[in-house]
């Protein structure tokens, strides 16, 4: 294979990116070497099994991917900002909307949410770590290897271009012969295995590692939503695994799962994809609901209204999420009866979701509301998400959907669901739990800039898309003529996207500013919050709790705080058992990345040779009998004294 086939050449935009990526990599390596940080990185981060550090690495990766996916979005908006624009050609536009979709859902939303789960859930249930710390590290590194492999497509070999749903026959070899869609199949497979492991890990963690007295109906609502999300992951991700395996076999080995010519069935792909893809929507949105619930209760200074109905709503949504996948293809030849049934199940989801919305509103009612940054995001979420929800019910009607399926109306709808539902939640959560991760708050004033720019920009970007959609603009159109009259709407939308980008820039600046100048020592409970994670120091010590807390009620921390019963006796401190770091997770994941890369290019001999690395990693792992170590009681005492003062 010649070099010009391996590297993407000929496009000035990509050439520029190649040079930028190359220089950044060299710069990073040089900088770390200059600062002599390699050993520190390896010991403290790359081999860590601490859930909080893994969570932070997830969040950092998520922010980076948000940048990548956001630039994709801006490029699309630039291309459609005026009629007959010639900024990107059709092929390049296809590649960009494909990577935008995949990156935002799988490599931005998922790691952000899983990152926050990782940081918060063990603390919320009073555990020392997750059930399987080493597996947790493996999950992260597999996700990371998948994400990096997927991003490589952009400069090496060419990006996938069949949309994030990659429908067959378009995604088959016949119509997209390049390696782009191989990247899609293999990178998602690697990341997906990691996600499945996360799901299993959190099911076990939440079932088995709750502090004494923390019964199911005393569980913080974010932990509840994480638990339900994890169950959906376990139930849905294997379907994606199979679908992607079929896709790989069709593309790499010439089988006929989806090609009609030899008895395949493209509808099989659609069914499998959405059997995973629809629950996936709830995998990303349920944890977000949990975050909003915590934040709204904290800053309204009230307990969450209708706690039990919230729990039932989450479980109900999870159950229904499995029964609605056909609404993604009403127009592809189902019978009227099938469409009607799926129309009904889809609309039923509005019921538990409505319950949640009203619970949030009733929590706010008569509350003493504090307009902090996390709270602002939560408040903005409610109306924006409701617009997304109501247009969702419009789309759920099969007959009406024949009018607006595959139009910009749909695109506007799901951005109105996913951006308030996931992105606002992630921002709210990052501001809210930042002190628990780093021991200081993000700047509230810069945060307000971030909030207003982003929320206004978001509405300006996506509101016009409802109207051009109803006016007949189909999605994925890379250009349009002036006579359509969409120019003004889409120009407006493009400006909105720039405002949104400015909001994101303010967020990044906020992180930079706060790292340098924010006030340290904000205390263990800077927001006057209600749940258990605030009972320990900020940042949380790596053993989490000096003494495993005992729980007597819902919002136990809040009531014990009011009663002044949070002290720690010196005699309660015992040596704490902790798991050791491990090199196998990162080693196995890098090996997966290498094998994946060779598979993408269909260099099978190299792939087989390098898969020996995976086997070596697995063998090393099974022969690893390291049972961890104990932190001596004196060390724990020292660390607790630092933030509590003298112990009782």
């Amino acid at each position: 294979m010649s070099l010009d086939k391996l590297l993407v050449t000929g496009d000035p935009l990509i050439l520029f990116s190649q040079i930028a990526i190359g220089l950044t990599m060299v710069g990073l390596v040089a900088l770390i070497t200059y600062l002599k940080r390699w050993k520190w990185l390896w010991n403290e981060w790359f081999t860590t099994v601490d859930h909080k550090k893994i969570g932070i690495m997830y969040i950092i990766s998520g922010v980076l991917m948000f940048f990548r996916g956001g630039v994709d979005g801006l490029l699309m908006k630039a291309q459609t900002s005026r009629p007959d624009m010639e900024f990107l050609d059709a092929q390049h536009y296809d590649e960009i909307f494909t990577t935008h979709g995949v990156i935002m859902i799988l490599f931005m939303a998922m790691p952000m949410l899983i990152g926050i789960m990782n940081v918060v859930v063990p603390l919320q249930i009073g555990a020392r770590d997750v059930a399987f710390p080493k597996l947790n590290a493996l999950s992260f590194w597999l996700f990371f290897a998948g994400a990096m492999l997927f991003n490589l497509s952009f400069v090496v070999g060419g990006s996938p271009d069949a949309g994030w749903t990659s429908y067959f026959p378009l995604a088959g070899k016949e119509f997209t012969p390049g390696v782009g869609n191989n990247y899609y199949a293999i990178a998602l497979q690697i990341a997906g295995i990691g996600t499945l492991a996360t799901g299993i890990n959190f099911v076990v963690t939440i079932t088995k590692m709750r502090a004494p007295g923390l019964k199911w109906m005393r569980l913080p609502i974010f932990t509840w939503s994480t638990f339900v999300t994890s169950i959906i992951i376990v139930a849905a991700f294997p379907i994606l695994t199979v679908a992607l395996a079929y896709m790989s076999l069709d593309r790499l080995f010439g089988t006929h799962f989806f090609t009609v010519a030899a008895g395949g069935d493209p509808m099989l792909w659609l069914n499998l994809f959405w059997l995973w893809g629809h629950p996936e929507v709830y995998i990303v949105v349920l944890p977000a609901f949990g975050m909003f619930s915590e934040i709204i209760a904290t800053f309204a200074r009230k307990n969450l209204f209708g706690y039990k109905s919230m729990v039932f709503a989450v479980v109900g949504i999870a159950f229904l999420s499995m029964l609605v996948w056909v609404h993604h293809f009403y127009t592809m030849g189902n019978s009227a009866a099938v469409n009607s049934i799926f129309s009904l199940t889809t609309m039923m989801i509005a019921i538990p979701t409505g319950v949640k919305i009203f619970n949030w509103l009733f929590t706010l009612r008569k509350g003493r509301i504090e307009f902090t940054n996390p709270m602002l995001w939560s408040l903005a979420f409610i109306p924006c998400f409701t617009i997304g929800g109501v247009t969702g019910v419009m789309l759920a009607m099969a007959a009406a959907d024949y009018q607006y399926h595959n139009t910009m109306f749909l695109v506007a709808h799901f951005h109105y669901v996913l951006i308030p539902g996931v992105v606002f939640a992630v921002f709210a959560a990052v501001y809210y739990w930042w002190p628990k991760m780093f021991g200081f708050k993000l700047n509230e004033k810069i945060g307000k800039w971030h909030f207003w720019l982003f929320v206004i920009g978001f509405n300006f970007t996506f509101m016009p898309m409802f109207f051009v959609g109803l006016d007949g603009m189909s999605r994925r159109m890379y250009t349009y003529s002036e006579s359509t009259g969409w120019g003004a709407w889409l120009g407006f939308s493009a400006i909105g996207s720039l405002v949104m980008a400015a909001g994101f820039a303010a967020f990044c600046y906020n992180i930079y500013w706060s790292f340098r100048y924010a006030e340290r020592n904000v205390g263990n409970d800077p927001w006057n919050a209600r749940t258990l994670e605030w009972a320990t120091a900020s940042p949380a010590p790596h053993y989490n709790f000096a003494k495993v807390p005992e729980v007597d009620s819902l919002d136990d921390f809040w009531y014990k705080k009011k009663a002044g019963k949070l002290g720690l006796k010196k005699s309660d401190i015992k040596p704490i058992h902790m798991p050791s770091n491990s090199w196998t997770p990162i080693f196995i994941s890098v090996a997966f990345g290498i094998v994946g890369f060779f598979l993408v290019f269909e260099w099978f001999t190299l792939a087989i040779i390098s898969s020996v690395l995976i086997i070596i990693g697995l063998i090393a792992n099974t022969f690893d009998y390291d049972d961890g170590y104990h932190i001596p009681a004196e060390e724990v005492e020292e660390e607790e004294r630092e933030w509590r003062g003298e112990l009782e």
Binding site: A131, L196, V203, V204, P238, T255, H256, G264, T622
Partner: protein, 197 residues
């Protein structure tokens, strides 16, 4: 629970969690195989002019495979029984028997596949063969993985004896082995018997 009545593999909290976690993983495996089965049922009759199931399946070979794998599940049970009564030697012997039966199953299955390819039914022939080979191949790959995995555990048992940790590892591997047996029963019924009817 008193220590004496609790089986070795369940004695520490971490090992209990490992076993419970593996059950959750088996839940995911059930979804995986259900998806493979469902896809097989969708594509079963799409032979595109190539051979169909009844043209190529040989009942005798499949019966031998079934016998080998079902027996191996029984001997895996005997191995766990030996483990519970702390008989290391018996544990090793029954495990080796289990692995040999598993290897025999794999040998038969590979021969079966070679035979199909000679009959003109390769994985690239039709929608039916794609779904058939992928379902069977996934099961076979699981058996292969299981053989290597359990062999490595045998080394650990031989070196370290039956401890809480090796016992819990071994118990999990036996759950996996029985699971593969259950999947095979479905394959035998809904792929082979149904295909030959």
């Amino acid at each position: 629970m008193t220590q004496a009545n609790t089986p070795l593999e369940y004695r520490s909290q971490q090992h209990q969690m490992n076993i419970f976690g593996f059950w959750v993983f088996l839940g995911a495996e059930i979804v995986l195989f259900s998806t493979l089965f469902a896809s097989y049922f969708v594509l079963e009759h799409n032979t595109a002019g190539g051979p169909a199931g009844q043209d190529i399946f040989i009942l005798k070979d499949v019966l031998i495979e079934t016998f080998l794998l079902l027996t191996s599940s029984f001997t895996a049970g005997l191995a766990i029984h030996s483990m519970r009564s702390m008989q290391k030697r018996n544990l090793i012997i029954w495990t080796i028997v289990t692995l040999l039966l598993g290897a025999g199953f794999l040998y038969m299955e590979i021969n079966e596949f070679i035979h199909y390819v000679h009959e003109g039914a390769s994985i690239q022939t039709s929608g039916f063969t794609a779904a058939f080979f992928t379902l069977l191949g996934t099961h076979g790959a699981h058996v292969t993985f299981g053989i290597f995995w359990i062999s490595l555990l045998l080394v650990q048992i031989a070196r370290r004896g039956i401890t809480e940790k090796t016992a819990s590892k071994f118990f999990i591997a036996s759950l996996y082995w029985h699971f593969l047996d259950v999947v095979w029963i479905f394959i035998f019924t809904f792929v082979y018997l149904k295909g030959m009817m």
